[in-house]
């Protein structure tokens, strides 16, 4: 498929305007200091004049399992960071009855649209012998900055089946930067030193993903109008999908509900 040169230049110019206006797309659930990419250059095939938003929250009904405490006595540095006790994040139900750590993303509907690789890295912090964030997404080719804020030995050991795995030791406070080349969902990340440490990383070829936090909400802004399959995935309760249609400049609110045992 060859387009005339002039058309390419026009598209490029348009995209530049778009990115200047819109800023970052779906922000991965990274800590605050990394989310200041508002003025960052993110180009994409989205017309800001028609961009829509799908947002909502993830409810939880039924009974959640009791939080499982982590025996961290062997790591006093980490233990101190959990004054109220450290717990596994397998199921975290928020005070408002919503479910945390649900990964919400567009599963189908974007067609052949191609999105540029964001320049700002996603941060994965090892803090208090836990992964922060616990569940998150990244775009293909985007830098993942893996930080050790604990200063004790962690080894960052993702277990992908499509991407190439790696296993890097971080015995001191340090950063390691890595990227992932292929789309792959819910890659477990483990630390062999601390067998309770577990996180999930998804690699997508678009920016429309979000993880529910302590208010249970998510937001997928800057969407081209259309009909999408929205998926919500939780490590214990699996995946639910929903077909959603948004018109130009619309914001559509949706709701997922996960049920405990």
């Amino acid at each position: 498929m060859r387009l005339p040169k002039l058309l390419w230049i026009t598209i490029a110019l348009l995209l530049t305007v778009v990115m200047a206006a819109c800023g970052g797309g779906g922000e991965p659930a990274a800590p605050d200091e990394e989310e200041t990419g508002a003025g960052e250059a993110v180009t994409g095939p989205v017309d800001p004049a028609t961009a829509a938003t799908i947002s909502g929250n993830v409810l939880f009904t039924g009974t959640a399992p009791e939080p499982e405490p982590i025996l961290m006595d062997a790591e006093p540095i980490c233990l101190e960071k959990h004054p109220d006790g450290a717990f596994r994040e397998t199921v975290v139900v928020n005070d408002n009855g919503t479910l945390m750590n649900v990964f919400v993303y567009i599963k189908e509907g974007l067609g052949d649209l191609e999105f540029p690789t964001p320049q700002e890295p996603v941060l994965l912090d090892q803090n208090g012998c836990q992964y922060v964030p616990h569940v998150f997404g990244i775009q293909v080719g985007q830098d993942l900055t893996i930080r050790n804020s604990d200063g004790i030995l962690h080894n960052i050991h993702p277990m992908p089946s499509v991407n190439r795995p790696f296993n890097v030791g971080q015995p001191v406070e340090m950063d390691t930067v890595r990227t992932f080349d292929q789309v792959e969902m819910f890659i477990p990340i483990e630390c062999d030193i601390h067998d309770w440490m577990l996180g999930y990383l998804s690699v997508l070829d678009h920016p429309y993903f979000d993880t529910t936090g302590d208010d249970g909400t998510f937001s997928l802004p800057n969407l081209p109008p259309g009909t999408y399959t929205i998926a919500a995935w939780h490590e214990s309760y699996g995946e639910q999908t929903m077909s959603v249609t948004v018109g130009e400049q619309e914001t559509t609110e949706i709701e997922f509900t996960f049920e405990g045992s």
Binding site: N155, V168, P171
Partner: protein
């Protein structure tokens, strides 16, 4: 030792599974069979057309599987399991963590083998071109990403000359990098994170015991160690530490660390066939840590998996013990030391499902058995009158029984007798042995004492000056060992130093006088001779 191993393997060969048993013998095959059977075989034919596929099917598929997925017929019997080439994961590389290996890295492993595993060295069996052909077959047919990109290579410089200062700096780096989390402070693989380690397939995996050169799967030389830190071992918990140091310091730091780790291998005493018990006039050591033990010379004794009787145990935990002995004319004291990264004191566990073959099917077995207590036994021939005819080294035989002292970490100390492994150990009513043990930092130290002569007919009389047949057997509880799942040694000898008889002093005095007299006569004669010549 070697001839015993040989007969053990022949025995295994005769019983049931034929060659399958031998291959499943894992460690034994890697070491013994390689040196015994294959040396003479030589290259098939230098001219033979190197056909990777047929070589693979003949030599490799039994473990690595027809499809290269590491699921050959014997795979459930091997630990570690054969490499699954389809995962694109290779442990031994000179490339960045997670990357594919270079062709030469794969060739290197095929040539040298992987120590402590069932992967033998092929360099004396296959020609260079055959190895190249089979490596090309494996990589191009089974490894999905092979040839699609250029892996990033980590340069391995020439190793420097090791100095004491390097070793000392390396010890500090070992602590800074917290290698002890898995490998333990003394390198005995007893670190706090060691019990929960799994490989990428979810199978339990152990950190390497760095004090044992033969447990370094990728080689124990300085450059091998440097390479492992730098590249990590894909598919295992061993990460790459290459990015920890700034580039300008990296090389020196990693060499220092390599030098220190290599220095941990240095403290293994040599192997001899005789354990000598020095005679002391002091009381015998009361504990395993008694300084009196410094008067005894340590001896290394190697153990191997029990592969004679079903269930055959191809993945033993304890591969060697260090033994010292002392006596004081009344009693003998034996100090047995061995590495066991995890102390297991609990007993009464499930027997577990060992599968329906004579070897233990690890896929079925692991996780179904235990807990079992750690244990160690010392075996003696009941009689010293057999001369060179010793009982069968595994629990004796009819007409040539053995007496076994067994200590277990759950506190039990028993004396038993056996006349063949078929009948097992029969506990003895009288018990003249005492035993006490300590465990610290991945090492047991076990003290046995017994009077030289007891009133029990089944007890071996420990007569100074006699070569007393002695053998060792061990069980590592957390490795699923109990009953026949054990490791054992062949016969060695215990030699108690004889008291020096008074006649020795008399002979010495007589010989001194005789020599003096002869010299005096000689001098006189010489003087007389020279004067007569003038």
């Amino acid at each position: 030792m070697r001839s015993r191993l040989y007969s053990a393997i022949r025995q295994a060969y005769r019983t049931k599974w034929g060659i399958l048993s031998l291959i499943a013998g894992g460690f034994i095959i890697a070491t013994a069979a390689n040196s015994i059977f294959m040396k003479g075989a030589g290259p098939v034919s230098a001219q033979a057309q190197a056909n990777g596929e047929s070589i693979y099917e003949e030599r490799c598929a039994f473990c690595h599987g027809e499809n290269g997925d590491g699921n050959g017929p014997v795979a459930p019997y091997l630990n570690p399991r054969p490499r699954d080439f389809t995962t694109s994961q290779f442990k031994f590389r000179t490339t960045v963590s997670g990357e594919l290996p270079l062709r030469e890295n794969v060739i290197d492993i095929v040539e040298k083998g992987v120590r402590g595993t069932a992967m033998p060295s092929w360099e004396e069996i296959l020609t260079e071109s055959e190895i190249g052909a089979v490596v090309d077959y494996v990589t191009q047919n089974f490894v999905p990403d092979w040839g699609t990109y250029e892996p990033i290579v980590i340069p391995i410089p020439d190793p420097p000359r090791v100095t004491q200062a390097m070793i000392e700096e390396g010890e500090i780096i070992y602590q800074e990098l917290q290698c002890d989390r898995c490998h333990g402070r003394g390198g005995r693989a007893d670190g706090p994170s060691a019990p929960t380690l799994n490989d990428d397939l979810g199978f339990p995996i152990r950190a390497a015991d760095l004090t044992k050169a033969w447990r370094y799967k990728g080689g124990s030389e300085l450059a091998d160690i440097y390479t492992r830190f730098s590249t990590g071992m894909n598919g295992t918990p061993m990460p790459s530490f290459y990015d920890v140091f700034p580039e300008e310091e990296r090389e020196a730091k990693l060499w220092a660390l390599s030098a220190y780790v290599r220095s941990l291998q240095a403290n293994q005493p040599g192997e001899t066939s005789v354990v000598r018990a020095n005679r002391i006039s002091d009381p015998l050591p009361a504990t395993p840590d008694d300084p009196v033990w410094e008067q005894a010379r340590p001896v290394s004794i190697f153990l191997t998996g029990q592969v004679i009787a079903s269930p055959r145990w191809q993945t033993p935990g304890v591969d060697g013990v260090t033994v010292r002995a002392l006596h004081n004319d009344e009693s003998v004291a034996l100090l047995v030391e061995w590495h066991d990264p995890f102390q297991d004191t609990e007993g009464g566990g499930n027997e577990g499902d060992t599968g329906d073959t004579t070897y233990v099917n690890l896929d079925q077995f692991v996780g179904t058995a235990g807990p079992f207590p750690d244990a160690l036994a010392v075996q003696f021939s009941q009689s010293l009158s057999g001369g060179t005819q010793k009982p069968y080294f595994f629990w004796g035989q009819a007409g040539q029984p053995v007496n076994v002292w067994k200590w277990q970490a759950d506190g039990s100390v028993t004396e038993s007798n056996a006349a063949g492994f078929d009948n097992g150990l029969r506990p003895q009513e009288s018990n003249d042995i005492t035993a006490s043990a300590t465990w610290a930092e991945g090492q047991y130290r076990l003290l046995f004492t017994r009077p030289l002569i007891t009133g029990e007919a089944n007890d071996v009389p420990l007569v100074p000056g006699e070569f007393i047949p002695i053998a060792f057997q061990a069980w590592e509880g957390s490795n699923g060992e109990a009953g026949m799942r054990m490791s054992l040694s062949s016969w060695y000898s215990l030699l108690l130093e004889k008291p020096v008889p008074v006649s020795v002093y008399a002979y010495t005095a007589i010989s001194v006088i005789a020599v003096a007299a002869a010299e005096w006569a000689l001098v006189r004669k010489a003087r007389g001779g020279s004067s007569s010549g003038i």
